[in-house]
């Protein structure tokens, strides 16, 4: 049982939870995720670790309420408990100094992007971050991203904040203006797909972090499998990060709809 020590709302449906998990806080690195079960009847769902405080023994999760399980988790208040939290899982992000790194995230994808932005910056890279959301309310963690980036570009679909347009418009602007050595993208599958198509045109190495259906998160079942470079990979142990130019996003998006009839 893991106690929730802090909660705040980024928007109506997106909350940030700080959860006691001392061993995970101690071991985790950027790119890792956890599997969470809200209560004894809940399913196991993957959530990326957005931040951690090893001294206080806490990890930070950013959760968007999209279905029954995330609704249960988002409804928890400080002092209440998550029934099970296990991790850190997956391969940590490969961090090195490459020059200029463009980090782009959409929606709650900005939460898992933040530790990578910080680690890329700490490794001596110039970091340009592109944050995107449908509307102003859906831009999260802007302040923290600004603190860790050399430059931040904000994109909203409706133009209610920052520049009007999609994340790819923002990325395209940056790429056409300066040399980018690596792109990191985290967000909805369709967003990552179009970022990958764009950067492929410019031949810029691009890394994405995939969020698929998972059960155990330890390589035991293969529910999370995706095709990368023509081979089947398990996101939970081989990923969650892959070369975005090698990922079969269409298959991944199809598989994300496996349980559409059950999404209550």
């Amino acid at each position: 049982m893991n106690k929730i020590v802090y909660k705040r709302h980024f928007s109506e449906k997106v909350v940030e939870l700080v959860v006691e998990a001392p061993l995970i806080a101690h071991s985790r690195r950027a790119g890792h995720f956890v599997i969470v079960r809200a209560d004894e009847h809940s399913e196991r769902i993957p959530l990326t670790i957005a931040d951690a405080d090893a001294e206080r023994g806490t990890i930070t999760l950013v959760v968007q309420s999209v279905g029954k399980s995330t609704h249960k988790i988002c409804g928890k208040e400080p002092g209440e408990y998550l029934h099970d939290v296990v991790g850190p899982l997956g391969q940590a992000t490969h961090i090195e100094k490459v020059g200029t790194v463009l980090c782009c995230g959409g929606g709650v994808g900005v939460a898992p992007l933040l530790p990578i932005i910080r680690a890329m910056k700490d490794a001596g890279n110039r970091v340009v971050s592109v944050l995107a959301g449908r509307t102003r309310d859906l831009i999260i963690l802007e302040q923290q991203v600004r603190a860790a980036s050399d430059e931040v570009v904000i994109m909203t679909d409706d133009g209610s904040y920052g520049n009007k347009g999609l994340v790819t418009d923002g990325v395209d602007d940056v790429i056409s203006r300066e040399k980018v050595d690596l792109v990191v993208t985290i967000g909805p599958a369709v967003m990552m797909k179009f970022v990958a198509l764009l950067t492929k045109k410019y031949n810029i190495p691009t890394m994405c972090s995939l969020n698929t259906i998972m059960v155990d998160g330890t390589g035991m079942c293969g529910a999370c499998r995706v095709t990368v470079g023509g081979k089947t990979k398990f996101v939970c142990i081989d990923g969650p990060e892959f070369d975005a130019h090698e990922v079969d996003f269409d298959e991944m998006m199809m598989r994300l709809h496996s349980y559409d009839n059950d999404n209550k």
């Binding site: 101690h26 296990v86 850190p88 059960v215 155990d216 059950d262």
Partner: protein, 490 residues
């Protein structure tokens, strides 16, 4: 005194001699093998209740009387953990069921489990003199083991005096499946302070997520785990050695040894076209959703797909568990697709029989080569290649060879792939100094189960690849004995 002398001494005890003389061998041999009472196929496919109902006291005593109490019992040599089989059976015959259970407990950490899931026809019962020499059905050793363990659990309180005084030495176990539990039980008996770390939220490994309720009820597994708790074993769920805690962390926490029993959880796929379509999944995923996550219960949130025409690929116990589970989940047409013939199937004979009684259609000598889906990516067709048996391969089994041109399409809406598992790479990745085989198993000394690192021992499927519950338990016991020897001589 070695095992044989001890065995002889027990056999020479007065009560055993008297019991032997109480009936002639002829009378014993004239008794037919007991039949296990079981739920009818029509009833049991509509529920998850345990199919085998267990022996009554009278049945068990009569079956026990069939055992000839051989002077050189070969059945013991067929048991991977060397249970004193005639001794426990003769205790059943004289109606001392507690003594029978204690005899089992002396060598097996989980008798109620093994009595249910061991392939006895390939182990102890294959060596029974009835089967090996007399041309009769073997003594039902598995049924009797189950009877003694169940009777004792239902009628006797676990005594706290089971607990050995602690020697203060801390030992860690990675994985709470059969190997880890057997190891933990023995180490606790030796007096070690044992902590079992488990990645999942439930203790029991494959006994919980894999083997279904109708074959092994969870309450049986939990009772055995409670027995280990009473002996002082600690359990830490949601903790992954190699991820949550590193090898170095374990040293800092004062652990003097690690037993790796992390299993072979990584499911294999066949890498044929269409295998990533919706509705194609590993048996591990299917069984985990249902057994561990309760996907069949409306109060539990985890969903599972339902199919009408379900194909399960494979011929092992996991394949049998999957076909039988699919029947219980309401599939009207369940096919078992296996590339060899029934004779080569590795599954327990009893499960094959039960699956057939439950209406599973056996498609032997067939192998899927492709899956085709609809516009939404759901699997709709399985393309199968008919096979025939060719020459025996190195393992002595006749290998399946495609029959040219014999390809057909079968309607399916769900496919469960059960073609084996590979060792989970999680711990090997986390401890790169560990010597690994090319198959991804941890290399250990065969007698001591010690790895290339002196304080790490390993056993079960992480050493063997996919094997059986009882072999995993045997490894756990051997590792405990040799780790104890190493630590006490230091």
């Amino acid at each position: 005194m070695d095992e044989k002398d001890i065995r002889k001494q027990h056999r020479d005890e007065e009560w055993r001699e008297e019991l032997r003389k109480s009936k002639t061998a002829k009378e014993r041999m004239a008794t037919p093998r007991v039949r296990m009472p079981e739920l009818s196929p029509e009833y049991r496919v509509k529920c998850n209740e345990e199919v085998n109902q267990g022996l009554t006291v009278e049945m068990a005593v009569e079956e026990a009387s069939r055992c000839l109490d051989c002077p050189d019992p070969q059945c013991v040599t067929g048991c991977p953990v060397g249970i004193e089989i005639p001794a426990f059976i003769k205790n059943i015959e004289r109606r001392d069921f507690h003594a029978a259970a204690m005899t089992l407990k002396a060598t097996s950490a989980l008798p109620a489990v093994c009595g249910r899931v061991c392939p006895q026809e390939k182990q102890c019962e294959s060596k029974c003199i009835y089967h090996a020499k007399l041309g009769k059905q073997a003594v039902a050793i598995g049924y009797l083991e189950r009877f003694a363990a169940d009777y004792d659990r239902e009628h006797n309180q676990q005594t706290a005096s089971d607990k050995t005084p602690s020697n203060g030495i801390k030992i860690a176990v990675a994985g709470s499946g059969p190997a880890g539990l057997a190891f933990a039980g023995d180490m606790a008996k030796y007096g070690y302070d044992v902590t079992v770390f488990e990645a999942l939220h439930e203790i029991g490994g494959v006994l919980k997520y894999g083997i279904p309720e109708f074959r092994l009820p969870n309450r049986i597994v939990d009772a055995e785990i409670d027995g280990l708790r009473a002996m002082g074993v600690k359990f830490e769920p949601n903790c992954i050695i190699g991820k949550t805690l590193s090898y170095d962390d374990l040293h800092e926490m004062g652990f003097n040894g690690l037993f790796v029993a992390s299993g072979a959880g990584l499911p294999r796929f066949m890498n044929i076209p269409g295998e990533n379509l919706i509705g194609v999944m590993s048996s591990n995923e299917y069984l985990t959703r249902i057994n561990l996550m309760g996907a069949a219960h409306p109060e539990d949130d985890t969903p599972v797909l339902h199919g009408k025409n379900v194909a399960v690929i494979g011929g092992g116990n996991t394949a049998m568990d999957s076909v039988r589970t699919a029947r219980r989940m309401g599939a009207s047409n369940v096919m078992l697709v296996y590339r060899r013939s029934e004779d080569e199937m590795p599954a327990r004979a009893e499960e094959v029989k039960h699956a057939k009684e439950e209406g599973v259609h056996f498609m032997t000598l067939h192998n899927p080569i492709e899956y085709l889906g609809d516009e939404k990516g759901h699997v709709r067709t399985m393309r199968v290649q008919r096979m025939e048996l060719g020459e025996p391969d190195e393992s002595g089994r006749r290998s399946p060879v495609p029959v040219e041109g014999a390809i057909e399409d079968v309607d399916v809406d769900m496919v469960i792939v059960s073609v084996g598992v590979s060792p989970n790479p999680l711990i090997p990745h986390a401890i790169p100094q560990l010597e690994m085989s090319r198959r991804g198993t941890i290399v250990v000394d065969e007698t001591t189960m010690r790895s290339s690192l002196s304080d790490i021992y390993a056993g079960g499927d992480i050493v063997r690849g996919g094997a059986t519950v009882i072999l995993a338990m045997g490894d756990g016991r051997h590792a405990a004995a040799s780790m104890h020897k190493a630590l006490s001589s230091d």
